[in-house]
Structures are given as structure tokens and as C-alpha cells.
Amino acid sequence: MRGRGLDRPLVGTVAALTAFGILMVYSAGQTDVPTNAQGAWLRQLAWVGIGLIGIAAVFRMNFRLLEWAAPSLYTLGLALLALTLVIGTGGGTAAGTRSWLTIGSVRVGQPVELAKLATILVLARYLSSLRESPRTLRDLLTPGAFVGVPFLLVLAQPDLGSAIVFAGILFAMLYWSGVRPRLLLLLASPLISLLLAANVLWWGIWMLLLFALLVRWRSYVAEGVAVYVVNAAMGVLAIILWNRLQPYQQKRLTTFLNPELDPSGAAYQAIQSKISIGSGGLFGTGFLQGPQKRLAFLPEQHTDFIFPVVGEELGFLGVLLALVLFFTLLLILLRIARRAGDPFSSLVTFGVLGLMFTHLFENVGMTVSLMPITGIPLPFFSYGGSFLLTCYLAIGLALRVAWDSRVSGYTEI
């Protein structure tokens, strides 16, 4: 392996994010009240070591082999996911779900994280095999199904956050494969209907708008009718689905819309997170010094809500630094995807970008009440082995793609 071929900006950014993340996990363990986060940073460091091995392994892997193995990996991932539905246990931040695979009493890992990677691979393989970009909703049925299966399996756990990530991956990769945004909008329309169904007026406006768009875009009649019917059905289904949601999920959604409704209960996390961030100000209270964290007002301060620790202790400047690092990473991934030597590599890289972006936006967004609270981790920051390993494997893929394209002498046009 030639050192020259290694994408140095990517390595540097990931190294910086990892160091930043470890420091924050360490800080999260420094509290006045004993928490289980105390030694987490050491375990996280061990996971970083495992992650580095993962990067090296993936980096040495031939992408053609990976492309060939994608369906098997995907099947394996689905099998493990399905297994969690049978023998899965709750644990960590996902106490209410069955996302953990446990052997004996040892929690081995959360298969969903690896399933995300497998889904990216199989989707990349399918989309790169197409001669033409999907043009109709019908064309989207197959890729939709690839994501739909793990999406539903995860929802059944139930893990709303990861389901959103699968959706994010699908939309990112479809976009990168050339599906027109208007088609993506139609694909997303049932979801929008679902969300707007809570308010009859908004839903009515949306249905009118959808009708206008369908007419304007002159889609196939059957397709247009199907989209419209599905949207209408979603409006009705919403109520039924709503009742099927777990109470804590309902609460999270309602309190996202109005956190003051229930300050001690479900909105507690949202409020305390925002207090931590807001009280940090420009410079923060100082590393390790955040009172909200120290006194355990901030829930899950080493996992899902690690970013408020950044906000509280390092202030707006620390937040800005973290965000700049993250978006630098995303832009590097975008660059690698653009320069990739083959469609499969490019799509895999963009899938990784979609994965990272969805996690970042949802996790950071929920800490400032920009997004509803769903328990998904922040890459390189949140404590947790499965996800950290997944992130490193994903970075390994991107590194390999970057190396491949450099070796083949790609020059930007």
C-alpha cells in the first residue's frame, strides 16, 4: 500500500473527530453523581482499536469481491435483524427496544448498525447495474424493497431512529444514481401525508398541492392515481398507525411539537438538552466543568446526548468546530464519491455519506429541538461499539474508493 494513495484529508478529519469524540466521552464520565459513563471512554478507546483493524481489513478488500458478496452480506444482516425480533433484548439507550443481540448474558452488538452497511452495498450493487436511472415510481419498487425490508424489521423492534436512517440512505443513493428530485418527492409523499394527517387543514393543502404537481409533471395516469390514493390512505392510516405506536414514541412526537406540555416527562430530555447547550454560551463552562452534565440533569450524556456536552462545556465555538469537522468529512465523502472509478464505488461512498449525514442531522438536530427525539447515535462521539465499528468500516470503504481512484489516475474534470 502506498502512503501516497491514502486520502489524507479524510484520515485527518476522522482522526480529529475520533479524538474529539473520545475526549467528550471521557468528559461525559466526569460527573458528581456516579453514572455508568465513568469508564466508558476506555471501552470506547478499545472500540477505536477494533475499528482501526476494521478499517485496515476493509481497505485491503477488493471492491469487486465486495460487490459480489453484497447480497450474502445483506441476507446475513437481515437474518440477524430478524433474529433480534425473536431473541433481541433491550439495553443501553435502547432499553425499550429489542435491538440487541445477546449470547448468554453478553450483549454482542446491535445488528442494525451492520445491516445499514449491508443495505448500502446491496443497493449500490443494484443501482450500479442499471443502464438508466429509474424514471418512474415502478422503477423504484426494487430499490425500495431492498431498504423496505430492513426498514420494517427495524420499525418492528421498534427503533424509529434507525428506520429514519434507512430512509435517509435510500433517498441519498437514489438521488446519487440520478433519480429526479420530483420522483423522490412523490416517493416521500406518503410519509409527508402521514405526518400532516394530524392536522386536517395542512393535510388538505398538501393533497391539493400534490394533485397540482401530479398534473404539472404529467406523470403516468396509473402512477399519479396510485400516488394520490396512497396519500389519501396514509391520511386515514395515520390515525391507526398513531394508535399502534408505543406510548413513548407518541410522547416523543407530541413533545417535539410542544415541549412545554410535559416538562418532567418525555420533554425532559429535550428541555435539559437545550438548557445544557444554551447555558454554554460562546465559550462554554470549560472542559469537564458543565454543571448540567456533572449533576446528571442531562440524560444519556455519553451516548445519544453527547453533543449537548460539547455545547455546554465548549460553547458555541466548540459546537462550530465539531460541525465544521463533520461537514468537512461529508464534503470529503462527496468528493470521493464524485471521483470514484466505478458506479458501485461511487454509490457506496454516497451511501456512506447519506448514513453519516442522517445520523448527524438527526442526532444534533434533536439536541436543539430541531428534530424529534429518536435514539440514534452521533458518529465518532456517542459511546457504543457496534455503531463506532460501523462508522470505521464505512470510512474504510471510502478510503479504499479514494485509493482506487487515485491509483487509476483519476483527475477531476
Binding site: 458528581d32 453523581v33 443501482l127 450500479s128 442499471l130 443502464r131 438508466e132 436511472s133 438521488y175 446519487w176 444514481s177 440520478g178 428530485p181 435539559q272 437545550k274 438548557i275 445544557s276 447547550i277 444554551g278 447555558s279 454554554g280 454560551g281 460562546l282 454543571p291 448540567q292 449533576l295 446528571a296 440533569f297 455545547g311 460553547g315 458555541f316 459546537v319 462550530l320 460541525l323 461537514f327 461529508l330 464534503l331 462527496l334 464519491a337 464524485r338 466505478d342 458506479p343 461511487s346 454509490l347 454516497f350 455519506l353 449525514f357 442531522f361 444534533v364 438536530g365 436543539v368 430541531l370 474534470i413
Partner: protein, 615 residues
């Protein structure tokens, strides 16, 4: 490679970059708003999350007597407070504390009440912990989360019960007090004066509480006792100087405890200018018991005691003034020019007076014969004063009596005071009995201090201070005359005052065998026996001395004492004690006391006077 041809990829990359940029701006903007624009609000919320105020009591001002002796001061004490996240955890900690230091279940109830009143503040367990208790608790601190031990100034009254009704006591401000705004500036649990001087001058004595803060975790458990973020030092209260003669006050107490155990009553000593030298009510109580929260059992004992030890008989007790009031009748008559000291009444005393269809008795069945005013005062002849009252006339008697202040509180600066009963005009009788359902026979009762006439000890003593002084008594006071309190001008000439004093002393010359050598101390006074429809009569004695140049005026009432003359000896001892401070030879002086053979008339039945004058 058609789907990912370079030019199309560049287009999509631009779109992706736009989305990323938008997301970055959205996130960064949200953080900017929270951390820069709304920062102060969140910082306050963070502080309220974790900081709990612990109030620091301000030392109350010292109360001095007229010589600089200390009546009330502070000593360092320990207060034990408990900070708890929930009522259950408070109960658990209390259960553990109960094994270490003793406290009864009513105290526990009180702690829980205090906690319910202000959850975010440490609830007071006791304000009077001993050093031993504190060290035992400190040893087991790890078992007692939320324990806050503070050294706090604690009120102490070294002379205990001797000054109880004078200084009052202190206690925590309750929710009811806050609702009534009784203590401006005080908060729930603040120590405030509840009675006497402590209450009257509370705004001066109290000072301003300070505060410090403790830090708690998310479950409300105390993490750090001193979060040095803020510290507001308490401002001590101001000292006050009183007119009290503390040695005299203590003397009265020890005298009463030794010579009159169990006797209910009161005694007030003042100068003729209205400066109160001593004020005592019996039975008394220990005001120290209230400091740091009175134990429920002690409170129950005090309030259920039929002798009502908390009741200040000197200012709140109301009694028929009886014979001492005859001097008021005489003063009114003199002022109006109706009589002179030599004036005799048409009917000599034959043991009573027929008025209308009723016979009004004199206390002396055999009768006094024909008397002039001097003699009538000296012998306290009822028949003379019946006729004097009739001669003054009811309207005039009421009008002049009201002018003398018998219908008003004196305004003494010792907390609440009872309002005396004295009809301002005849309309009072119309209202009380109905028009024409009463007769002018009420005049006869009024003239001898019975009937619709109830006075407080402090009011009667003030009247005698006017007699003893220059005819005008300043409002009685302990610190300073209250604003708006009026002096009582008798409207008598110096000669008339002199005559009244002489009449009071007359009985000495007549009564006692004069065989004295050396110093003599003449005490002018008036005994009285107030009718008590519920039991034995109450004895009055109001006196001043030395008779020719009064320096001290003392009023005393003893419930169920039968006769005023049994009150007199005690008063005389107090007078001698006070005066010998200025003239030590008086300590051995022979004392001539004007103790008249007193009237003890039964309630004279006026046909309409069925309710016994509504006392």
C-alpha cells in the same frame, strides 16, 4: 456508467453540496440562537436546576434596658435543616435521624409541613440543636443526604419568664402571616417577633436575611454544600433601648414566684412621665421555649393551661376598675367645679342609698356618716360617690371619662392591647338595652367603677401617673411614645391634684398609729375590689411614691385576690426596692401605706343591668 457520467455527477454533487450547506447553516443557526441569543435564559434555567437557596438568618437586634442591661440577645446556636428531593426521602432521613437524636412525632409533622411549604428550600428540623447532637449527626453524615447544619444566631432571654410578656417571643413566619402581610419583607420561615417588644419593633429588630446556595443533582440530592456562586450576607437587626428597669422587673418576678405562687395577675411600674419601668403578668412562661420552634407538647401545655400563661394581663386583661375609679369621678367633679374638697353630700352614709325603687349599698353596712370629699376618698365611701355621680350627671360623666381616655387604648408599644369599655355617650345604653329600658341608676354604678366600665391595668396605671405627676400623663411606653397616642390631661389645677393626693394619704394619718423614728416612706394608693361574677373578686392596688414627690407609679391586679389590701404589700415592696436605688436609706425606712378599708360592694342590681355590664 450512464447513470454516473461525469457531467451529471457534477450536477448532483452541486445539489448535494447545497443540501449539506443548508443543513450546516440550519444546525449552526439553531445553536447560535440557543447559545448566543437565548443564552441568559438557559443559564438561569441551568442555575435554577441545580442551585437551592439556604437562607442565612440575620441576628436580631439586642434589647437593652434603661441602664444598658441586656433583656434579649443572641447566642450562637446550631440549626439543623434537611434538604430532600421528595417527601419519601425526607421521611427516610428523618427515621434515621430519630435514631441519633431525640425528637417527637409532632416535630416530624412540622418538618414535613415546612417541607411541603417550600420544597426547594431546606426544611428546618430544629433551630436549637446542641453541640452533641450536631456532632453525632456529622459523624453519620454519609447516612443523611441533604443534611445542612448551620451556625445561626439564636435568640436568648437570660431572665427567662421574668420578661416574657414584656419582650414577647419569636417564631417562624407562617403562610397565614404572609397572607395578612403582618411582617413586611419577611418570608416563609423567617424568624419574626410574635408578641410584646419583639413584635412591636420587629421591623427594627429583624434585620435582613442573607442567603447561600447548595448544589443539587438531577434527583434533587445535595452534591455540594457551598456553591460559591452567590453569597448574600445577612444584615443584622438594630438594637433597641427600652425604659425598662431590668433589676426591678426581675425583682417583681422573683417576688411573685416566692410570695404569690399560682396567683394570676399583673403589675406595671412606670414613671409619672409614662416610661414603663417594669411590666409583668403572671403566670408567666419561658420565651426561650419558642426559639427554634416550640415543641408541640409545650405549646399544648401553654395554650390549654386554664391560667392562660400566654395572656398578657397587664395590657390585654380587662377588669372593672372598682374603687380606683372613684378618683376619676372625683377628678371629673373637681374639674367641673361641682364640688370642693370640703363639700358634703345631702345624704350622709347610712350603709346605703335609696335611689328610685332600689337600695344601693355602701360596702360598710354601718355607714360612714356625713363625709366631705377628702373623707369620702380616704374611706372610699360608696354612698358619697353615688351622689357625686348623680350630681355630675350621666352625660357629663360619660363625656369627661371619655375625654380622660377611659374609652381608648393607651397605645402602649407592646403589641396588641385590649380596648377598654366605657360608654362614650348615653346612646350606648340605648343601643345596649334599648331606649328607655334603662334608668339613670347606671350612673351610680359607673361612679364607683362598676357597670359598663372595664379598664386595663395599663390604662388605670396611666391615669394614676397623671394624678402623681403634673396632671398630664404621657402615653405609657417602653421604647418611645407611639405616634398618635395622646396624653391624658386631667384638667385639674395643681391645688386640686395636691388635694387628691392628700386625700389618698389621709387614711394613713387616720388609720395607723403614728410612732415612727427615722426615715419614712409615704405611699399613696388606692385599693379596689372588682366584682367578678364568675368567682372570687379581683383585687386592685394602684399607688405612687413618695407621696409628696412621686417618682414611681405602680398598678397591680390580682385575680381572685378577694381584696385590694392583700395586693398592696407586694406593690409596696417593689416601690421600696425601686426607690432605694436612689436613696439607700429608704431600704430600712418605715413605710406608711394608704390602704383604705376598702369597699367590697356586691353587684348593685339595677333593674335593666342584667348582663353584669358585659365584661
Amino acid at each position: 456508467m450512464s447513470t454516473l457520467s461525469p457531467h451529471r455527477v457534477r450536477e448532483r454533487a452541486a445539489g448535494a453540496r447545497a443540501v449539506l450547506l443548508g443543513a450546516f447553516v440550519l444546525l449552526a443557526g439553531s445553536f447560535f440562537k440557543a447559545q448566543i441569543i437565548d443564552r441568559e435564559g438557559y443559564r438561569l434555567q441551568s442555575a435554577t436546576n441545580r442551585l437551592r437557596e439556604v437562607r442565612l438568618a440575620a441576628p436580631r437586634g439586642t434589647i437593652f434596658d434603661r441602664y444598658g442591661n441586656i433583656i434579649a440577645e443572641n447566642e450562637p446556636g446550631y440549626s439543623i435543616k434537611l434538604f430532600a428531593p421528595s417527601e419519601d426521602s425526607l421521611r427516610a432521613v428523618l427515621a434515621r435521624i430519630r435514631k441519633l437524636i431525640p425528637f417527637d412525632s409532632s416535630a416530624e409533622e412540622q418538618v414535613l409541613r415546612r417541607y411541603a411549604g417550600a420544597r426547594y428550600q431546606p426544611a428546618l428540623l430544629t433551630g436549637t440543636a446542641s453541640f452533641e447532637d450536631v456532632s453525632r449527626l456529622e459523624e453519620h453524615r454519609y447516612l443523611l443526604p441533604g443534611l445542612v447544619v448551620q451556625t445561626e444566631p439564636r435568640r436568648v432571654y437570660r431572665t427567662r419568664g421574668a420578661v416574657a410578656h414584656l419582650v414577647g417571643y419569636v417564631g417562624e413566619v407562617s403562610e397565614g402571616d404572609l397572607a395578612e402581610e403582618r411582617f413586611p419583607g419577611a418570608r416563609l420561615g423567617t424568624i419574626a417577633g410574635r408578641d410584646g417588644l419583639e413584635q412591636e419593633y420587629d421591623s427594627l429588630l429583624r434585620g435582613v436575611e442573607g442567603s447561600r446556595y447548595i448544589e443539587v443533582d438531577a434527583r434533587g440530592r445535595m452534591v455540594r454544600e457551598d456553591a460559591a456562586t452567590f453569597f448574600v450576607a445577612p444584615i443584622p437587626g438594630s438594637p433597641i433601648r427600652t425604659t425598662i428597669d431590668l433589676p426591678l422587673q426581675v425583682f417583681i418576678d422573683s417576688l411573685w414566684q416566692a410570695a404569690l405562687p399560682g396567683t394570676r395577675g399583673a403589675m406595671i411600674a412606670m414613671t409619672p412621665d409614662g416610661e414603663i419601668l417594669a411590666l409583668y403578668s403572671a403566670p408567666t412562661f419561658d420565651p426561650n421555649a419558642f426559639v427554634g420552634g416550640i415543641p408541640g407538647r409545650t405549646w399544648a401545655e401553654l395554650t390549654r393551661d386554664p391560667a392562660k400563661p400566654l395572656f398578657n394581663r397587664a395590657t390585654r386583661g380587662k377588669y372593672p376598675p372598682a374603687s380606683p375609679f372613684k378618683l376619676a369621678t372625683a377628678a371629673i367633679a373637681l374639674k367641673r367645679g361641682i364640688v370642693a374638697f370640703g363639700t358634703r353630700m345631702p345624704e350622709p352614709c347610712r350603709g346605703g342609698l335609696q335611689y328610685g325603687n332600689r337600695f344601693f349599698r355602701c360596702w360598710k353596712r354601718e355607714g360612714h356618716g356625713s363625709l366631705d370629699l377628702t373623707g369620702a376618698i380616704a374611706l372610699s365611701c360608696d354612698v358619697y360617690f353615688y351622689q357625686l355621680g348623680l350630681r355630675i350627671g350621666l352625660s357629663n360623666l360619660l363625656e369627661e371619662g371619655t375625654r380622660l381616655g377611659f374609652g381608648k387604648r393607651t397605645g402602649v408599644d407592646l403589641g396588641s392591647e385590649v380596648e377598654p369599655t366605657y360608654p362614650p355617650s348615653t346612646a350606648y345604653y340605648d343601643r345596649f338595652y334599648g331606649p328607655r329600658r334603662w334608668s339613670s341608676a347606671v350612673t351610680l354604678n359607673l361612679a364607683i367603677g362598676q357597670g359598663e366600665n372595664d379598664q386595663s391595668l395599663v390604662g388605670m396605671t396611666q391615669f394614676y401617673a397623671a394624678l402623681a405627676g403634673n396632671g398630664t400623663a404621657e402615653p405609657p411606653h417602653v421604647v418611645r411614645p407611639p405616634a398618635g397616642a395622646r396624653s391624658r390631661g386631667l384638667g385639674l389645677t395643681t391645688a386640686q391634684l395636691e388635694g387628691l393626693r392628700t386625700s389618698m394619704m389621709d387614711v394613713v394619718r387616720r388609720g395607723t398609729a403614728a410612732a415612727s423614728g427615722g426615715r419614712e416612706l409615704n405611699v399613696a394608693g388606692k385599693t379596689g375590689t372588682a366584682q367578678n361574677p364568675h368567682g372570687k373578686d379581683h383585687g386592685w392596688f394602684i399607688a405612687f411614691a413618695p407621696a409628696d414627690n412621686p417618682k414611681i407609679v405602680i398598678g397591680s391586679i390580682m385575680e381572685f385576690a378577694l381584696h385590694g389590701s392583700s395586693v398592696a404589700p407586694h406593690v409596696v415592696r417593689v416601690i421600696r426596692r425601686y426607690l432605694s436605688r436612689f436613696d439607700p436609706t429608704l431600704a430600712r425606712a418605715r413605710v406608711n401605706v394608704a390602704v383604705q378599708q376598702d369597699s367590697a360592694p356586691r353587684v348593685v342590681e339595677v333593674p335593666v343591668d342584667t348582663t353584669g355590664a358585659g365584661r
